[in-house]
């Protein structure tokens, strides 16, 4: 596996699954991985968010947020998380589990 150069978060300021639940930890993860953090506010940069979600994420007419993507130095963009309609607590746990995962652990060793 190659290294992560950018974490992109498609989010909205009014959404509790996004702010602070996902955005704050992603700031730490990006720093830890030495990656750039790209925050894509769907109310500001709708087109950028739409194209990322359409090409690499969970696309729907009114898609779920947040959606998080890791971009690697070989150009690959990988979807790593979508918020949980089941509740903010689920989204919070998913953000934590990403950090605890072997997938993430291997990226840190780089």
């Amino acid at each position: 596996m190659t290294c992560v150069t950018r974490i992109s978060v498609v989010y909205a300021n009014w959404c509790p699954h996004c702010v602070p639940t996902t955005v704050e930890p992603m700031k730490r993860y990006a720093a830890e991985l030495g990656a750039e953090l790209e925050l894509i506010d769907i109310d500001v940069a709708e087109q950028r968010g739409d194209s990322l979600v359409r090409e690499h994420g969970d696309w729907a007419h009114d898609y779920l947020i947040p959606q998080v993507f890791f971009e690697f130095d070989d150009g690959r963009i990988v979807h790593v998380m979508t918020g949980f309609s089941e509740g903010v607590e689920f989204t919070r746990r998913a953000v934590e589990r990403l950090h605890e995962s072997d997938f993430y652990g291997k990226l840190l060793q780089r």
Partner: protein, 159 residues
Amino acid sequence: MAISIVDAVRSKLSADTSCYGHCKSPAHHHMINGTEGQIACFSCGGGYVSRVVMYSAEDGTEQLKSFVSRTVNGVMEIRDEDIRVATRHPWEMGLEENSAGEVILREAYWTQHYRRTKSDDPARATLFRCESCGSLFMQPLNSAAATCTGCAHAGGGVQ
């Protein structure tokens, strides 16, 4: 994958949520009979269905859409903006050691659109879950019977 999708879902995604739009009580997760563990709904104590969720390995959006369309029997329009999809990775489900790291599940959600405007018809057709047999049925929002007509006629309804 050692653990089936259904088991994963039951254990990880079946906690109560809040009833969406309709009331402030919790909505419980119920698997829908006859769907082989693929489709569930969240409904509150009043039987109002806030979400129908389809769990599958591939994108189940179209299947969910046709299931809900059949269920509402043309009485309600199933709109694309009420359908969303989410990819779940093994680590999110606490199943990382049982997988090779790929996607294990896709959730497609349909959200019942609960509007609150002055022009809303209080008797508009709404999707409910029968308290007695667990099936989904349509009835006017303001009638709010706890059981479907089949169960009510059989006298088996919990009133």
